[in-house]
Amino acid sequence: MRYVDEFRDAEKARALSARIASLCEPGRHYKFMEVCGGHTHTIYKHGLEDYLPETIELVHGPGCPVCVIPMGRVDDSIYIARQPDVLMTSFGDMMRVPGGNGSFFDSNAEGTNIKMVYSPLDSLKIARQNPDQRVVFMAIGFETTAPSTAMTILRAAAEGLENFSVFCNHVTIIPAIKAILDSPDLRLDGFIGPGHVSTVIGCRPYEFITTDYHKPIVVAGFEPLDILQSIYMLMLQLSEGRCEVENQYSRVVPWDGNLVALKAITETMELRPYFEWRGLGFISQSAMQVKEKYARFDAERIFNMPGLRVADPKACQCGEVLKGVLKPWECKVFGTACTPETPIGTCMVSPEGACAAYYNFGRFTRQRVKEATAVATTEASKV
């Protein structure tokens, strides 16, 4: 396993860490949420918490699309997969997610045909090659993947395909951030904003966080140094009494996002009145559905699925983990009954889930924290 200190930019990481430490007000505790699961992964993988003073705490947010899918939607997918002549397709990350009656893998063992695909375009191709099958793509993801689904629907329409549809589970990041900000359980000092979602939506949609909630947000890249730099930018804002949307990842994220992608989404999809998020409950206008105009590609209109609400298992504390209220290791079943091989909750399934990331990399972090903070403070005194 490699940590930042073996990483090519160890020097820069230490320098950043020292500067961050020098901005900490004595006696103040800071809590920043990284919204995106990709960031959670980087933080644990590279032991970034070792590089932060003990008074800065990172809490993990709801930005893992696999993790927020409620069990009922898994069950609905399996229901669709059981209909005559259906060939269901889905991203590999979904295959092990437990539903009320097992996962896609379990369902395949009982005779359904749920195939993993890399891209919705693979699914479209399968539909072209199998005209006698009804091919359904189970679409999940935030604004990062929604444009791909939208483009695929447009393509299917242009080709006049009649045996392809999408089971749309796309969610939107802004209402989730708002739900977290409105939740009384958590007092945050700022946000590390999602990088790849922002390539699509741009930076403007985050402005309400600064104007209505008076918290800073820095859109960040995925390298360890990106994240450290973003934390430095957040600390700088706080110490200067500013609260703004800043873009640390400007080499990839345009301020206005990707207009072609946004257009494709608005052409094919619209907001649902509400959608259930695992752990966060129902959030209004937080997910997308296929527009009436493309109804013939909408699996929800084609198949009359039960749409049942399934309660999460009692032992599961994914909701608290997704809201940043609990750390993965504080869940009672973490690492015992719930492991990546036998996941009870979704956060243990996707590599971007906080529990999986912590299980794979983070368990060794805490013993190193003290040592690294000592290094950071010594270096800070040299600056």
Binding site: S148, E223, P254
Partner: protein, 90 residues
């Protein structure tokens, strides 16, 4: 799925203008570039690929750093590349 993989545009396919041949970690794959239609990439440009689509252009230095980083991520990246290799978009 959300990681995103950097790749280098090798060739725009003229019979299918929204597709490009892209070099990803030494392997060539067709990638949909329809989302970059406002600022179409040319051979030599680097792009960030999500589930078969180029989502944004990135500068070459950044792309190489990202690739090096992703290769260091291990299993998650290996899985993403393996999934991409299974895919055959057209």
């Amino acid at each position: 799925m959300c990681l995103g993989i950097p790749g280098e545009i090798i060739e725009i396919l003229h019979d299918k203008p929204d597709l490009a041949m892209v070099d990803v970690s030494g392997v060539r794959r067709a990638i949909n570039i329809g989302l970059l239609e406002d600022d179409p990439p040319v051979p030599g440009d680097w792009i960030l690929i999500h589930v078969g689509f180029a989502l944004s252009k990135i500068d070459e230095g950044e792309a190489k750093a990202a690739l090096e980083f992703l290769e260091g991520i291990g299993q998650a990246y290996a899985d993403e590349i393996a999934a991409l290799l299974e895919s055959s978009i057209d």
